[in-house]
Symmetry: C2
Subunit: 472 residues, 2 copies
Amino acid sequence: MDSHAPTPSPARDVPPAFLAALSARFGAQCSMAAAVCAQHGRDEGSLQAPPPAAVVFAESTQDVQDAVRLAAQYGVPVIPYGAGSSLEGHLLAVQGGISIDLGRMNRVLSVNADDLTVTVQPGITRKALNDAIKDTGLFFPIDPGADASIGGMAATRASGTNAVRYGTMRENVLALEVVTASGDVIRTGTRAKKSSAGYDLTRLMVGSEGTLGLFTEVTVRLYPLPEAVSAAICSFPSIEAAVRTVIQTIQLGVPIARVELIDVNAVRMVNAHSKLHLREEPLLLMEFHGSPTGVQEQAEVVQDIAREWGGNAFEWATTPEERTRLWTARHNAYFAAVQSRPGCKAISTDTCVPISRLADCLLDSVAEADASGIPYFLVGHVGDGNFHFGYLIDPDSPDERTRAEQLNHQLVARALRMQGTCTGEHGVGIHKMDFLQEEAGEGAVAMMRAIKQALDPQNILNPGKIFTRPAR
Amino acid sequence: MDSHAPTPSPARDVPPAFLAALSARFGAQCSMAAAVCAQHGRDEGSLQAPPPAAVVFAESTQDVQDAVRLAAQYGVPVIPYGAGSSLEGHLLAVQGGISIDLGRMNRVLSVNADDLTVTVQPGITRKALNDAIKDTGLFFPIDPGADASIGGMAATRASGTNAVRYGTMRENVLALEVVTASGDVIRTGTRAKKSSAGYDLTRLMVGSEGTLGLFTEVTVRLYPLPEAVSAAICSFPSIEAAVRTVIQTIQLGVPIARVELIDVNAVRMVNAHSKLHLREEPLLLMEFHGSPTGVQEQAEVVQDIAREWGGNAFEWATTPEERTRLWTARHNAYFAAVQSRPGCKAISTDTCVPISRLADCLLDSVAEADASGIPYFLVGHVGDGNFHFGYLIDPDSPDERTRAEQLNHQLVARALRMQGTCTGEHGVGIHKMDFLQEEAGEGAVAMMRAIKQALDPQNILNPGKIFTRPAR
């Protein structure tokens, strides 16, 4: 199975009349400059496709509606663009069409601190959101590393380091405003914390990767800033020892806020990139949130477990500055890794398995990666059973790409045998379409296709992503 | 708007040839006895319809598939039946057809204690599930009061008293096996804690009320039994004082496990029914889960808040027996209420609002209910902003029903103005179809209909629920 090449889908015609109509409606908000189109036709992943024919910089829901209506009239694909930080080719114009950049729709529309909710436009990034609400005593915890847009995070069902405690976008998006394939606007969900009112359109939209609608408003949950926060590093004699510590922590129900694995390769890369002096051993990077007593209790339990597995004493980072430095280093692991092999591209894996299978899945895959000779690093949101290999390939070496994709495929097959998933948080895009088929099975994918067909009969919303369309 | 009458939908023919084929396939597993059909054609709500033509007692996924295939062949509606505890007419055969009773599919298929998951057949009830796993040190927290089936709870996106801490079925169903409208089987989700693999079919199915598929396996999350549990009662001089205490508790992020409001009417009914001597004032019934220190910390915070609002000292129930007695009394509030007015029927409301609006929504609705002269009680999962009035009407008095439905409608309209939902946990069924339309709007309901049409083109899966079908 060839899972790395975009399924060949003929780019559809973008009629000049459509582009003229777009220009007439949007003026300077529409660009066909080659550099602008190129920038909107790629993401942080390793795949490539010809760029979109134009970029519309939407400034309002009405803008999005008008662009989609024009596209529907001419049967032209539209691809929503947030911060460009997706990894699986979500933004690539594999069937041609236009990009709708939502970056200018970046306002906070209403902070409801008393309800622990906020409604934002989709283009605001998670850091900007947290900055905007910092005086409320609340925060938005979902942290995928990249400073992604909230709309993009909703569209890929993102999660990241804090998900082990606070959940993913699945649990934290309460309501959406969505522009549908016809250019109409619907609202899904309410600001109530729970609801049984009909089909869960919010959850259907979250993770739909721009294929069912474009989000123009997103309401998410917020959390009180914890009274006490402590971060700690603990190094281990082996990856297994680190992972076993995590498994027991989760099984005991310790409400740890973050628990990240960093393998020795990644530690070296991070040390070099971020001028740190972390011990060159597999590390767990942890964070505890709660009352001062609660944080202390949690940390003691985890320290006891770590000690049994040969972990070293915790090194604490208690000031906000130390913690920021540590998490910045973790978040820069990807860039640190790419810099470690000049000119390379990283192929990221994203499997997630039930916690009891984490050690088996990880260790077998480490052995395979070591045997392959391809440089790699390994980081993971291991409290959720989710981890990422980054295979650092020479983009000019088809052989390296093939071998890396082979490793990825073996890893996914292993995760699926263990009742896990091919993607914990990055989404399918064009890179994992075959994996989705393996994971979900023909019947479930057929159901997804039927939903797509029902909601987007012209197949203009980010076509060629998640699954290929059957011949009609 | 007339929200209480089932939308008239002509019962479809159930051809004798279909019933003969059903009998031939299922033998003694199929009953057409009037009493059996009548029992399967009603729920705990106040609405009525003619019973289904037959009941199939499914014992396997294959049984469900075969029954659905026969129904599809003859175009006959099928209605899944769990424990019969729904409240909104979900089980009523408003368009004729047959009931598929899943009560015999009540096995635990696999306990994965190390992963904090369990896979069960849909007919097992929540109490039976907790009984079956009691030696694992884990529990399944979702507790809607009634001893509902897990399949039924998934189908209505149920929640209940523990949801404020542990979430609803939305957050706790990981994976499903589903028999589709064609009788095929698909699997949605995996046992991984999170996933971004395509459309979230699990969440689409959860809350679909039997209209998109019949669940034949359900994988849910489990939680470690808390090290310490304490329950407390606190009485207040007014409903407002009780509710303000709850609002502050939630806004401070106290991870309270249960916080239930019981109004003075319900207290009197419960005292009479359960031979208790609760103080005849508005009460909060609370439960704290955690480490011994954590539980103490939480309780102290809430006690401080309660004191400020004039709450009396907490009365503690620390032994399991005392707690069980308390929660049983709470769960029996509905039956206690119905007994308080012999021959009456209860019409339950189920609004849920953002926590900051809870006091306003509740107090205005209490004033309206008091003014109406209709006997009522009020209980609520107030930590989630969800509460239930039960209007105790004389079923032979059309006037009382009309006035009660009027109160319900005013309450729903108020909740929607406050960005809440018409149903926090009971579902739409046939009772809230008009409310759903008001809440979600025409466009969103049209999207739900399009999905229904795509996945069940013959409209045989529990037809006439959630929304009426447009003319074709």
